[in-house]
Every structure is written in C-alpha cells, then in structure tokens.
C-alpha cells in the first residue's frame, strides 16, 4: 500500500516500472539482514525518499535490466559450452538467449530468479542448435575412447566378480559445499569425449528422454545406449578419482 504513490510517480511506461522494481530488489540484496528488516519496517514516506534518492542518482547507481542480463553472459556460456562442446555454437546460443531476454524485460526479486529464467531460455536455444546441427553433433573425435569396455574400470575378475568391492560414497552434499562438488561434476562432464558429453548432457541437463534424443539426432537406440553407458561409467570413475577418492584419502 505504502509503495503506491512512488510507483505511480515513476511508472510512466512499462520500462521505468520494471527499472523501479529491479532497483528496489537490488537495493534489498545489498543490505544485511538487520538493515533489510529495518528497511521493510520503514514508513512509506521514508521508502519514497529512498526511491527519489535512487532515481536522482545520489546513492550507488543500480544496474538496469540490460546490464543485469549482460552480466550473466559468462554464466550462460559455461552451460552452453558444456552441452554443445563447440565454442562458436555456444556463443551463438548465448547471444540468441540474451536477445530473446532483452526483448521481454521483466522484474525479478533476485539474481537467482533471473539466472533460472535465462537458463530456461538458453535450454530452448541449445535444443534448436542441436537440432540444426544434428549430423555434426554425433560426429566427433571420440577415437581416443578406444575399444576398452568402461565396465573394466570397476575391476572384475574373469568370473565376473569384483576384484575389490565398490567404495561407499556417502552423500556428497553432506561432505562439502555443493558448489565445490558441482564444479568437479562439471569438470568431469567436460572431460567426456565430445559426442558422449553432448548426449549425456542432453539426458541430464536438458532432461530429454532417450526416445526424444534418438528422434532429434536420428540415432539408433543401440548407438545412443552404448554412448550413454560409456559416459556414465567414465563420469563415475572421474568422480571417484577427483571427489570421493580424494576425500577418503584426507580422512
């Protein structure tokens, strides 16, 4: 209720209305919890004064929607590269995403929500790119992958028993920050051979079904399963070496 006069004052068009909401949201983010509570408890006249100060530029300038979106270029590029495994395709997909986002500006309560929205758009652009280049997507230099059966990483005797039973991994999120774990996970996914990596990310990041992937890329199910099987075992091996094993060594 208290905000009503300020909104009317600055809301001559949709754009300025959006800027105002973004501005107050960003301001909120910059306050510590104590100040945030204070701010929310302020009477409307004080809030209005704050908006006037912000709008006339006497306090820190707050980023416009365009700036906030542009700042997330690198964040989006990381996912686009991981999925497409081709820098030029990834740059194109991110550019398309930013253009689409800027054509429909809107306000978000915080940066996480903006990121989630942009990643949602990026996923659509990335699916378009994969569809457009479906032939190239399945051609890559995966020759270093060789003929070895990745199941052998697990170590089996000739009779099909484990040489050593698999390790107990425990719950990764309880052991360290999710962020560190996810960085290792992304690095491992990035180390997969290109075609395997693309197919694996289509399953796990784009959340496409095996049937959808086969249809989009004109792959036979057998071909897809062979690649996904190898990708999953390689990823398991990489996580064991770089996360679970290292952790066990520390204990």
């Amino acid at each position: 209720m208290g905000l009503q006069p300020a909104v009317q004052l600055h809301c001559n068009s949709f754009r300025s209305g959006c800027l105002l909401v973004c501005a107050s949201a960003t301001f909120l983010q910059h306050q510590n919890n104590f100040a945030r509570t204070r701010f929310l408890a302020l009477p409307y006249t004080a809030q209005q004064r704050h908006h006037h100060r912000t709008m006339s530029g006497t306090s820190t300038p707050l980023p416009a929607f365009e700036t906030q979106v542009a700042e997330l270029h690198g964040y989006l590029l990381k996912f686009a590269r991981l999925q497409l495994r081709n820098d030029a395709w990834a740059e194109d997909a991110v550019s398309d995403t930013l253009l689409a986002a800027l054509s429909k500006p809107q306000a978000f309560g915080n940066r996480s929500q903006l990121k989630t929205w942009l990643v949602g758009i990026l996923k659509h652009k990335v699916v378009d790119a994969l569809r457009l280049r479906s032939r190239e997507v399945c051609q890559g230099d995966d020759s270093q992958d060789g003929n070895e059966d990745p199941l052998d990483y697990l170590g089996f005797k000739a009779d099909g028993h484990y040489i050593e039973p698999p390790a107990e991994w425990g719950n990764p999120e309880q052991q360290a920050s999710s962020r560190q774990f996810f960085e290792v996970l992304e690095a491992c996914a990035n180390q997969l051979p290109a075609v395997q990596g693309r197919l694996f990310l289509m399953r796990e990041w784009l959340e496409l079904s095996s049937e959808e992937i086969c249809k989009e890329l004109q792959l036979t199910p057998t071909n897809l399963y062979v690649q996904l099987h190898r990708a999953r075992l390689r990823l398991r091996e990489c996580l064991e070496l770089n996360w679970y094993g290292r952790r066990a060594a520390k204990q």
Binding site: Y75, R111, S112, K115, T116, V119, L151, L154, F156, D159, G160, H161, Y162, P165, P166, A167, E168, W169, N171, P172, E173, S178, R179, F181, F182, L185, E186, R203, E204, W205, E207, S210, P221, L224, Y225, L228, H229, R232, L233, L235, R236, L239, E240
Partner: protein
C-alpha cells in the same frame, strides 16, 4: 525356465543401462535377486543412485554470486 543368474559385471551393466532405458522383466527380476544375495553390488547401486541424485541437484542448482 528363464535364466536368472547374473554375474556382478552383468549386474553393473544392467544398473548403468537402467538410467537410460527400461529393463526387460527378466533383467529386472534377475537384478533384484542378485542384489539380494550379493554384498558388493548394492554398493555399486548406491553409487549409481547417488550420481542420479547429484545430477538432479546439479541441474536444479543456481550458483549464488
């Protein structure tokens, strides 16, 4: 009679495949039986299910600034 015996290596292959395709009824039953009598394979199953869970959390995770 459907053969229901699987080695650990075969069981591991089935658990990886299960992430991307629906196993046949015979494979599902055989895998369940194997997991009941084997000490090592349930550990591998926990790794695969742990990976499934981690990947789910990863795709829903938005890194804070």
């Amino acid at each position: 009679m459907i053969p229901l015996k699987r080695t650990c290596k075969q069981a591991a292959a089935l658990m990886v495949a299960r992430e991307d395709l629906a196993l046949s009824l015979a494979d599902r039953v055989a895998l369940r039986l194997h997991l009941l009598i084997c000490a090592a394979c349930p550990r591998f199953e926990r790794q695969i299910l742990g990976m499934r869970n981690s990947l789910k959390q990863w795709r829903n995770y938005t890194a804070p600034d």
